[in-house]
Symmetry: C2
Subunit: 425 residues, 2 copies
């Protein structure tokens, strides 16, 4: 099926055949869902020991009674866990509540309104400011900017991470750019891992950027590998140390996709100066995080060996679902030119680019055949994909059989939408 | 000891005697602490069943898997708990994480920056705005305003609550007043319960105030009674319903001083319009609260009968400490004119007013004799008590014997500071 060389008659014939196939899929009254980037119940079961794990012992290693108030930046063993995951020093971490999104929102808010280095550093003093958003990206990052009135400018994701030539050119040209969103490992949604060169260049952006420029390094999938010998993400903080730019990067992660998604522990890593600025404001919002839950997590996952063993169990559950998506894409679209995608070896998503102008049509066709997909455009700021191409596939929640069924529907929808688009052109 | 009628010689003699007593107290090298409004370990033990209470059953009553993402406003059984405590409908509550201070900070922030009823309602569009702060009050309320650049104007607390004549006059005269802090039951720190008339008048403030005026009703001690047949606080939401002012009051509470102080569950009650406005912004900060912990709390305290029985156990621990403070104050200062205080029958604090200009001296004398007190001024905005009179006593953490010892020191410090102040006048 090569659309470019097809005659109108050929296209018509394909359309008829695909419409026929689509009709029989519709007749099956499916009810499948590839929208949700969340763990399945089977994955959540892996951490059910959390409740009750303290066995009446509510003392942290340093003697702190974790039940009481206090401790704005978390308990020592939770800091150690965070430092291990993000490969930084414990003096560079703060451990919070159940949501890294909250930490990110707070950090953007505090930097914008109050400044992380005193009132003069508040972004709002500089008028309307902007964030660089590699696209496709994570919708909740974009929502933070939108809520806080921060403009977003996009830069394309490559297989090595954001297009750094463009990033550097834009940052040099526009001092109103004060931030940049990054999901450096198994990026949401394309699944790529930033290359060493990309990390190295990001660590040097502070040298050409607004003095209060910050990279928001959302390492949500730091330990979420699906293969043996997974790709290693270069250490951004080490790169920053080399270039004296430690203040320019703020790292975030959580256990949301390690233990229980809604009741995990989040953390950030940053230079001591950034942490101090952050905590100064944080102290007016809270007396401290839930230390009991931090201690539960430290007991469940006492070291990196335990964590790696735990993540292998996740991988065993997720991998067949990823394989199903990737095998279906490959057998349906290899060599057709109807779509492009990466082959992630970790994370939660596979991202598919249709021919230009087809994504919305595919999502609608799929929905009408009982397969829910993430709304087209969701991976772009303001929900607008200018080329209407990107679709995010999230296969963790359905069973392998359901993923396979859904992908068969997806195949027909992509082909049908592509042929119709060609016919209409 | 009547300072007003004493001769200079008499004062000199008292000073010498008290200095002598003070010296022998200092020689005891005490190390006591009445600063902390937090539960003792004995109180925390009452809720140790929380960890493990789910016994592997992570399903809420409606079938929700509480381990996963989602549910911005909390699970149904936690809402029922919140609604019972605050005596509102479950449709009027939102249940959050571990900190009601966070909910209050967020509410003030959202109302100021984004508006609870659309962008036009944002306080910041009205220039510099103000909050009414009954004093003495809770320092963390004042810190929220200070952090957000909201001016604070004070109004005195009476034994019936804030001086409502002054409150009404100030609100009528100044449309820049957009908020008011209230701790209506066992007020922090005076311990008074707002009278029915005060509640009724607060419910009508919206009729004379800025259209976006909000009362921040921090009912932190709603169920924290120390006596049988405790005073009942009138239902503010019912009063608002009567006057069609439901949008003007936002209520807050938590289980921080019911279960484990740092890992409880917080909640707010508000009109559906306010809740909708709040959640619209909240959705950009978080995917949802820790529902597992909400379920733990609902299992530990399934209804008001269980809650009341639980609070009686707290009362049995706290009451002897309160009695010690109150008996010491009474025997030391009744009829002396050296200080005034309320006699709270619930909450966490007893508030003592010295003669004008003596509070800082008392706190310093006590510290130098090994008894830590909350810094003088802490109960006023910006930490400044204009008359330098108020001292907050927090007796829950020390043992009864320690409270008694500390109060004996306090007595001598108050008397010595008072005599010296008179001598210096």
């Amino acid at each position: 099926m090569n659309l470019d060389q097809a005659t109108p008659e050929q296209l018509q014939q394909w359309e008829a055949e695909l419409a026929n196939q689509y009709q029989s899929l519709q007749d099956q009254s499916l009810n499948l869902d590839l929208t949700r980037g969340k763990p399945s119940a089977e994955q959540l079961n892996l951490s059910d020991a959390l409740d009750g794990i303290l066995d009446g012992d509510y003392r942290a290693a340093d003697g702190t009674d974790v039940r009481n108030y206090g401790g704005l930046d978390g308990i020592q063993e939770a800091k150690q866990f965070a430092a291990d995951v993000l490969q930084v020093n414990t003096s560079e971490v703060l451990v919070g509540g159940n949501s890294s999104l909250t930490l990110m929102f707070q950090t953007v808010l505090f930097a914008h309104e109050f400044g992380l280095q005193g009132a003069d550093s508040a972004w709002k003093t500089q008028g309307k400011v902007k964030f660089l958003c590699p696209v496709p990206g994570y919708d909740r990052h974009f929502t933070v900017c939108e809520q806080l009135g921060i403009d977003m400018v996009t830069v394309p994701m490559l297989s090595t991470g954001p297009d750094m030539d463009q990033v550097e050119a834009m940052i040099k040209a526009d001092p109103q750019i004060v931030g940049m969103w990054c999901v450096p490992k198994y990026s949401n949604p394309t699944g790529v891992v930033y290359s060493d060169e990309t990390v190295e260049r990001i660590a040097q952006l502070a040298n050409i950027a607004n003095p209060y420029f910050r990279v928001f390094w959302d390492n949500a999938y730091a330990v979420h590998d699906l293969v043996e010998n997974p790709p290693e993400l270069a250490n951004i903080m080490d790169a920053c140390r080399k270039h004296n730019t430690e203040d320019s990067v703020l790292q975030f992660a959580s256990t949301s996709k390690i233990t229980h998604a809604g009741s995990g522990v989040c953390f950030m890593a940053a230079s001591p100066a950034n942490l101090a600025g952050f905590q100064q404001v944080l102290a007016s919002c809270t007396i401290g995080p839930d230390k009991v839950n931090q201690l539960r997590h430290a007991r469940l996952l006492p070291d990196m060996t335990a964590l790696r063993a735990h993540m292998k169990k996740h991988a065993a559950i997720i991998q067949p679902r990823f394989n199903s998506v990737l095998e279906n894409l490959s057998s349906a679209f290899d060599g057709t030119g109807l779509g492009t995608w990466e082959t992630p070896v970790g994370g939660y998503f596979i991202s598919f680019d249709t021919l230009p102008g087809c994504a919305q049509a595919v999502v609608k066709l799929a929905a009408d055949a009982g397969v829910k997909l993430t709304p087209a455009g969701a991976t772009f700021p303001y929900g607008k994909d200018p080329q209407d191409r990107n679709i995010r596939l999230a296969p963790t929640v359905p069973t392998v059989e359901e993923v396979d069924q859904a992908m068969k529907v997806f195949e027909v929808c992509v082909k049908l939408a592509s042929v119709r688009s060609k016919l209409a052109a």
